[in-house]
């Protein structure tokens, strides 16, 4: 009797754990998981760009729609594992009824447990169809491309990449440094957007958006009070954005002004501050920094627009 009671209690505990697991799967996730920088985990996307703007924009929209379609298809069946779980409970209850009537049977319980296993397998498979949100930069880049599409030379393409796989990947460690306490700090360089375009006015535009981040690696430290060795976790130390722009100016159409009151070194444009500016050799080179972790597409577009203040259209001959 005690054996059956123990088995019954164990089955009840398993059923409760399984119920809450399946309930958790059935509900749509409200709180997304976060990474070390306390940012929510986003969909890691990498796009190689070498096409006309319309094709790229359409491709980006299609990719988003496909991800959404997979997620919606999964959402439709979200509650099915829980229903199968209750089907298993029903089968086990049949055995319970037999036992109450004085007959001993485990065959329905075995079936019920088989259904529970099936429910777990289905729940796990449905979870695979879940997707994280698209990064805001994905939409931002799309808007940049959309804005620049009419400025592109007819028949030419955008070239470059959009790398939204994450700024703290091991492959993006640019260098490491050690401090006096032998702690290692990693410096990340994530060139998340590289774009080259031949413009309608004959200029060639190159944009490079780089996120520079810093992270101190975990290390062991001896406690001054207890003398025990304790592991300190890795720590995110912040990041900043760099925007490198190069405009090869069409000399037939434009003359470059050496300076402009609306575009000069040290000037703040949106979230950016122009830190370097050069107009040598008929090329405008500038670097703009932003202490913010995120810069919106409006900031990038407005600094590009401001850069055109350096150009003075030559009079038609």
């Amino acid at each position: 009797m005690e054996t059956f009671l123990c088995a019954g209690v164990a089955l009840l505990v398993v059923a409760l754990i399984l119920f809450f697991y399946l309930l958790n799967t059935a509900r749509k996730k409200v709180t997304p998981s976060t990474n070390i920088a306390s940012k929510k985990d986003l969909l890691p996307v990498y796009l190689s760009l070498a096409d006309k703007p319309e094709s790229i924009i359409q491709g980006m929209e299609k990719l988003k729609a496909n991800v959404q379609k997979t997620e919606t298809a999964g959402d439709k069946w979200r509650w099915v594992p829980l229903i199968i779980f209750f089907g298993g409970v029903g089968l086990i209850l049949i055995d319970l009824v037999f036992d109450v009537l004085g007959y001993f049977s485990l065959i329905f319980t075995a079936g019920g447990i088989a259904l529970w296993i099936a429910a777990i397998v289905m729940a796990r498979s449905l979870r695979k169809s879940d997707s994280q949100d698209f990064p805001p930069r994905y939409n931002g880049t799309k808007k940049i491309l959309h804005t620049l599409r009419d400025d592109l030379r007819p028949g030419s393409t955008f070239l470059g990449h959009l790398d939204l796989t994450g700024s703290l990947l091991p492959t993006k460690v640019a260098r490491t440094a050690k401090d006096s306490q032998d702690r290692t700090t990693e410096y990340f360089r994530d060139e998340w957007l590289a774009l080259k375009a031949k413009l309608y006015d004959g200029n060639i535009l190159r944009i490079s958006a780089i996120q520079k981040s810093k992270k101190r690696k975990s290390y062991w430290k001896r406690s001054r009070i207890s003398g025990k060795m304790k592991m300190k976790p890795e720590k995110y130390k912040g990041s900043e954005q760099d925007l490198k722009v190069r405009i090869v100016v069409n000399p037939e159409l434009y003359k470059i002004e050496s300076s402009s009151p609306t575009f000069k070194q040290g000037l703040n444009v949106g979230k950016f501050t122009i830190s370097q500016l050069s107009t040598d050799g008929g090329i405008i080179n500038f670097v703009a920094n932003s202490p913010f972790e995120e810069v919106e597409h409006e900031n990038i577009l407005s600094i590009l627009q401001s850069a055109y203040a350096l150009l003075k259209r030559k009079a038609a001959t």
């Binding site: 070498a50 991800v67 997979t70 259904l115 397998v121 997707s131 492959t171």
Partner: protein, 517 residues
């Protein structure tokens, strides 16, 4: 294989597996819904019965309930009325026909006023057969039908045997060890009946009608010894259960060991039970001091095992459901009474508040009853059996339900589209576009080199970025070739790591492989 097909293939395999297991359970007959029960018909106060039997001892045409404990011998009729009752000191009893009238009589070996004595009770009439016997405290008594003639054999608590003729004359004596006689049974050798006797010391002997040993042996201290002709070959098997768990089956003919096993706990009871319904062989059920229950075939193969919560005190074979196979009804010191079927499945009857001492089955009046004696009383029960018809096919139903669910899950998983690739390439295939892309990639490679030289990017990050750009360059070359445009190839693949390298490099930058191209 298409991802639309794989879930169905997996589902098909699983369904086959589920249905095969279901079929195995359904058609092997192991799945049954059977219920054993009992309703008490009458009871009488009678404490701690040592011997109990449903048998005709009153000379009428009805069976009575004979029962004996440490102070009394009684006989009850089918309705529980007392037909005979006599108090004794230290009585031990056996049943047998001592007056050749074809009816069973009671033989009582006890301590009387004139020493150790033997009484006979014939049709309810008590008479003293003999007194002042030269033997110790009664331990066992048996009527053995030796070929030359029946003998009453007495066993005492010091291992002594004394044989009497049916008129009470001592015939022979023998000593089996120095401790209490724990088993005395008739054992056949070539069809002729002999006496098998064993004492607690572990000594075991098979004797002929003159008290001469055919063979003797000794083993660990004994709790039980019984002799049965398990395979009906005319030679009995002598079964012993030891104080430390040894179970032996000896051949009564020569004392050879047929089988032995260690059960891990003292053997408290051994009985033969016709578990499989095959009349050519009998099975044995063994109970342990810690509640273990084992069933063995006549050759010693273990058929099943089970357990009760306390010492097994009694085992009885009763065909409750009338299928020709006996169920083992087992009582325990805890008061539990359990019925084990031929396959070892267990059903419980009502638990008693005192230890079960004896269980027997027999016809009292017109009905067959199960009689259970515990520490306080003897109860006569009507045993019942019920089963759900067709229950053996429920595994098929369960299998079909599980298979249907598996199929539904496969269908649902198939309906979910594949998650799109999150690394995408939007590429225009025109020559101008491919050339522009090529230029851009080369500029980017130059940028990375510049960053490395300036120290802004070092180590793995430099190599990872370079690797990706070179791979894109190789893809660009492939796109040129695919479109049929002429292209000067500038990349090669490392044969070791597969990374893309610039043509002319003699060592892979990613894995260090030396290149001989």
């Amino acid at each position: 294989m298409s991802r639309k097909i794989i879930p169905f293939v997996v589902a098909f395999v699983l369904i086959c597996l589920v249905m095969a297991v279901s079929g195995l359970f359904a058609f092997s007959g192991v799945v049954t819904a059977e219920k054993f029960g009992s309703d008490m018909v009458w009871s009488q106060p009678y404490s701690t019965a040592e011997s109990m039997n449903v048998i005709n001892v009153m000379g009428d045409d009805q069976d009575e309930l004979f029962i004996q404990n440490t102070t009394n011998v009684s006989v009850y009729d089918g309705s529980g009325a007392t037909l005979f009752s006599q108090d004794y000191q230290y009585p031990k009893t056996t049943l047998g026909d001592i007056n050749a009238d074809g009816m069973e009589d009671i033989v009582v070996f006890y301590l009387g006023d004139l020493g150790y004595s033997v009484d006979t009770i014939v049709n309810g009439e008590k008479s003293t057969l003999t007194e002042s016997l030269n033997i110790g405290l009664p331990a066992r008594v048996a009527i053995i039908r030796f070929p030359p003639g029946d003998q009453i054999v007495l066993g005492d608590s010091s291992g002594n045997l004394l044989s009497l003729s049916l008129d009470g004359q001592p015939l022979w004596s023998y000593s089996v060890g120095s401790e209490e006689i724990r088993g005395m049974d008739d054992a056949r050798i070539g069809g002729a009946i002999h006496l098998a006797a064993a004492s607690h010391s572990g000594a075991l002997a098979v004797l002929d009608s003159e008290g001469k040993a055919i063979w003797t042996t000794s083993q660990e201290q004994l709790r039980r010894m019984r002799a049965f002709d398990l395979n009906g070959d005319g030679n009995s098997e002598v079964i012993t259960g030891g104080e430390y768990g040894a179970l032996y089956i000896y051949s009564a003919a020569d004392g050879n060991t047929i089988f032995n096993s260690s059960l891990g706990q003292a053997v408290s009871e051994v009985r033969e039970v016709e578990l499989n319904g095959d009349p050519s062989s009998r099975e044995i059920v063994v109970g342990g001091k810690d509640g273990g229950v084992w069933a063995f075939s006549n050759t010693g193969n273990q058929l099943w095992s089970g357990s009760l919560s306390d010492k097994v005190t009694e085992i009885s074979g009763i065909d409750i459901n009338g299928d020709g196979k006996e169920e083992a009804v087992i009582g325990a010191e805890s008061g539990e009474v359990a019925i084990f079927s031929g396959t070892g499945s267990r059903n419980n009857l009502k638990t008693h508040s005192t230890p079960i001492t004896r269980i027997d089955v027999g016809k009292l009046g017109n009905e067959r009853y199960v009689i259970i004696a515990d520490g306080n009383e003897v109860q006569v029960h009507k045993a019942s059996f019920s089963s759900i018809p067709g229950f053996q096919y429920t595994p098929i139903i369960v299998g079909v339900i599980v298979s249907a669910v598996i199929l539904v899950i496969a269908a649902i998983l198939t309906s979910i589209p594949k998650k799109p690739e999150l690394k995408a390439s939007f590429q225009d295939k025109s020559k101008e576009s491919l050339e522009a892309e090529r230029r851009m990639l080369k500029e980017s490679i130059a940028d990375v080199e510049r960053l490395r030289k300036s120290g802004e990017v070092t180590g793995d990050a430099y190599l990872a970025r370079l690797k990706r750009l070179r791979r894109d360059l190789a893809d660009n070359e492939a796109a040129f070739k695919a479109a049929g445009f002429p292209i000067k190839v500038e990349t090669i693949q490392c044969p070791n790591c597969g990374g893309t390298l610039e043509l002319g490099m003699d060592k892979c930058e990613y894995c260090g492989q030396v290149l001989l191209s």
